[in-house]
Symmetry: C2
Subunit: 184 residues, 2 copies
């Protein structure tokens, strides 16, 4: 849909980075006036709800420099150029947790911050994971600790603010809803 479309009058590339690019667009608004839009370009990412045979949720704790703290999240990572999201999901799950799966099912894709960024997160669910003997390690600048938590523990971690990012909150809520639907 193109309702209220903002036409680009000028686009200034401010920064081209390893992961994100920043550009500032001058746009014409529906009322004929002009405005500026600060826009982040991001390659997109994947996240995985991975469940162990015991029904635990696989999480990773890692330091997030943007937040200056370490938080607990479901495994995730950015897309490499030309990589299929399902492949990225398998790769990130292996690198961050040492788990593989037989069936990486797509659940939903959502933009994380449509007001300023085009980052699209593809969320998958892997319900048949198994430990790999010789899993590939994480990226060399990535340090993660594996956690396996029950749904109740995950809900508690949300209350305690050890989990508080959008994709993981969505994932925990997804599993709560799934549980409820099963009970019916």
């Amino acid at each position: 849909m193109k309702k209220f479309e903002e036409k680009t009058l000028n686009s200034e590339k401010i920064y081209k980075g390893k992961i994100i690019d920043l550009q500032v667009d001058e746009v014409s608004l529906p009322n004929g006036k002009t405005s500026k839009r600060e826009l982040i370009r991001h390659p997109g990412a994947v996240a995985v709800i991975a469940l162990t045979p015991e029904g635990k949720i696989v999480m990773v704790e890692q330091y997030r420099k943007a937040l200056e703290q370490s938080i607990v999240e479901i495994p995730a990572g950015k897309l490499e150029q030309g990589e299929e999201p399902a492949k990225t999901a398998e790769r990130e799950l292996e690198e961050e947790t040492g788990y593989a799966c037989r069936d990486m099912k797509p659940l939903i894709s959502f933009y994380t911050s449509p007001g300023f960024a085009d980052e699209l997160v593809h969320l998958f669910i892997a319900e048949d994971i198994y430990k790999l003997e010789n899993a590939s390690p994480p990226d060399e600048d990535e340090f993660v600790e594996l956690l396996e938590v029950s749904l109740e523990e995950a809900q508690k971690m949300i209350e305690e603010k050890r989990i508080f990012d959008a994709k993981t909150a969505y994932a925990v809520q997804y599993l709560q809803l799934k549980e409820r639907l099963k009970e019916k």
Copy 2:
């Protein structure tokens, strides 16, 4: 928590914008090596699940330049300096939809993109909204169209990808779960 802390060796301010700032930090990693982190500073935002007396969900359609398309979202907006999130939520609800409420209840706060941005979204729920006679208009560079949809319609819009941002997907799932809990 500070596990796997990355100490800042150097921080370069790349851009200071109207809404976001970009900095690139050089950090020392837990293994002694160094790396760069591209970081977006954002003032934070609010989003509101607003329900009409008929039980419809209040949504707004707006053009998102970052995505080059218009999408349907729950009302949202960024925090002004020093503004309490609940106040921002009331202001944005009024400006974008013409609705006010008596009780703006906090639900959850989550980081949208912890890998590169510190944007924290405070999600509220307003279950007792009413139309204002003389509501404040949106910002002068903001064009939104009001929609009121049932939960079923919202779920359909997710399938059709008219809704596909994280906070709105979370909100719809929240209402689905609430519905299920009521049925018990």
